[in-house]
């Protein structure tokens, strides 16, 4: 059964942003960690779209957004915090960062990455995580984290817009 992901379809992205920021606020309050102005702003910028952003791109955006000129360590510290809290994921193949739509549920980093439009679609496939853990166990390997990065063409860019009638509008 095919199902075009939200990131690939037309959608009210303001909802994505506000939901993510609200979830982040609640998560941080619940854990007793501080979602400072800077961290919130970085998270907001990352959520501007569904494309992973590099740290230096974020620095430029911060500079443009509010004459707040920050140096690399500042951005990286904010990113480290967001990574630790599971609010963003790192896309290794792109040296870039993307918002996590479900930061409260512990899960692995599994992504589909479109080489044409640049979007990254997070997968939610616990049974895939389990299968990977199983394969690792067969080798006596104790899994701590998984990074699956699948490159190719998303539904829109591959021209597969007819899949469920909502693909490309």
């Amino acid at each position: 059964m095919e199902h075009t992901p939200i990131a690939c379809s037309h959608h009210d992205h303001n909802h994505c942003i506000s939901d993510a920021l609200e979830a982040a606020r609640q998560l941080c309050v619940g854990r007793g960690v501080r979602l400072t102005d800077l961290r919130l702003q970085v998270l907001e910028l990352i959520w501007q779209n569904h494309k992973p952003l590099g740290a230096y791109t974020l620095m430029e955006m911060l500079a443009k957004a509010n004459t707040r000129r920050v140096a690399p360590p500042t951005v990286y510290r904010a990113l480290d915090f967001l990574l630790e809290q599971g609010l963003i994921h790192r896309i290794n193949v792109l040296n870039a960062f993307i918002g996590c739509p479900s930061p409260t549920t512990k899960h692995q980093s599994h992504f589909l990455i479109c080489r044409a439009c640049g979007i990254a679609i997070e997968l939610d496939q616990p049974q895939l995580s389990q299968q990977i853990i199983g394969v690792a166990q067969d080798a006596g390997f104790q899994v701590e984290s998984q990074s699956l990065e699948v490159s190719g063409l998303c539904a829109n860019c591959a021209g597969n817009t007819e899949h469920d009638g909502h693909g490309h509008e």
Copy 2:
């Protein structure tokens, strides 16, 4: 059924090296591409052990090995060639490169990476590749390449040396 991988067990690593180099020679002859001295030497250095090596580490090793002092582009071109031919894989999470034990069969890049001893174990799980392709297809995504990098502790480092009696000597 558990099975400690070769890379984790004591083994005659000279065999790994000579097998890999011989396979590379044959593969290049068969394809009509040139396995030059430099490319061969880089491949040999990469095969010194089962740990991924960074490009700059390779540069140092080249300098030590034969007073052949090479600049970054030289190493990266050799690495690009070896990647194109499938003789090595890139480990994104480490910005490093590792030899491929089965360059003749087309396959995806699936690795277990030990954070303690640094070895990377290549998985050979076609059904896992297939499952990933299936998950992607459900999202209308057309897969071109996969990168699975599982971090954790290998059989030796986790202390699981009793798995099949050959784990740690």
